[in-house]
Point group: C3
Chain length 168, copies 3
């Protein structure tokens, strides 16, 4: 079972000026998928804050997958991809490419998503748009392969170690 | 209305050894789209020169969108994407992905385009191939969403500031 | 004619714990394509080792194209894309995008490939998955345009130099 954390990134929602709809929308999908939810958060579009949270959550052995929502667009304050790129150790470009290609069939504006995905330690971070509908649609694109991705992030260290020990 | 600038990047055209066809082809499309053209330029495939011009044009509040043409291929002198990556603050990978995917339907050589797109200050920079036909075709792919992209680059700082002030 | 080198990257194969199947599979395809093979290698998923080999092979004027296989997934030891990004001077994102988009039609797991492609000196490096079948399928996607890509990497320096001299 995948253990997830959902981080909403929005100036207005963090100031209470509007309701966070995309975070709860992702949480609802996670429940439908049968995955566990271990953390949620809501922060402003502040690069240092986002990076600090991502780093802390990736240090938590309980978090396999962090889904961010918001801050992936062209507004001057949209900085989620840059914060994500700054903390990941390995990029996973295929996830964002597939989400954009799929969304493009529904709306030409999909190409404006600057979302990225990547790995820090044994945690996968994936950016989703701030629109609840787009976030849910994008999660549906990659959800089928995420259990296998998470499994790979965890199992192979032990497998390699085992082989290595047997070899000696 | 979008204010644009077109930069042709070509050793031979800059030395007068061949006519610049792709720059004028993009200018013609810009006129058809009803956008304004505030600057044009023609430079050699020299990384420092390209970067200096991109930086200067992005400091000009009048330039919303810079279209470069040329220097995106595999020739040793093709350095436009690297010059662009060096000056942008935020990448917009979906634009180049969509242009390549669309061109691929017309020619398999589309996958050799190394074009990138990204944002510096409030200006969007997009690389186009040096072939006039490919440049025009690629612009047609992203033109429908560019007005919204430019709007986002400009409007939200004020919107956020306004909200922030009201909140206090 | 393209001169190629094939580098298999696999902890287990390098320790002799399993047979290298993807390297020979790529070699077989290279022969069918009529390209020449000048080097093959087999190394562990060790970043420094991979980078050292890539750098050495790219210094060899005989190597136009390096095909790596393995180390592009989500396992903790999979580090081929990072080693490749560290040595290339110019990215060629369209190659990896096209391979993933094509593979996605066959399996949703294609989006987990973290493969990259890029140029160092006049050598093109392309990452392929470690599965022999996926590696061969991916090579088929880009093989038709590689001769032209390699031609561009080589011919234009001389062409430009010639023009430059004539201009003076």
């Amino acid at each position: 079972m995948i253990s997830t954390a959902v981080l909403t990134i929005s100036d207005r929602a963090s100031r209470g000026e509007r309701e966070d709809l995309s975070g709860p929308a992702l949480v609802s999908e996670i429940e439908k998928l049968g995955w566990s939810l271990v953390k949620t958060g809501l922060v402003a579009d502040d690069r240092d804050t986002i990076q600090a949270i991502l780093i802390a959550w990736c240090s938590d052995k309980q978090v396999d997958l962090i889904l961010t929502t918001g801050g992936t667009g062209f507004s001057p304050r949209d900085i989620t991809p840059e914060a994500t790129l700054a903390v990941i150790e390995r990029q996973a470009p295929g996830l964002a490419e597939a989400m954009r290609a799929s969304s493009l069939k529904m709306t030409p504006h999909a190409i404006l998503s600057r979302a990225v995905a990547g790995i820090r330690n044994q945690t996968l971070i994936v950016n989703f748009p701030g629109s609840p509908r787009a976030a849910v649609e994008n999660l549906a694109v990659i959800a089928p392969v995420l259990p296998h991705a998470i499994e790979l992030l965890h199992e192979n260290i032990e497998a390699e170690k085992g082989h290595s020990f047997r070899a000696k």
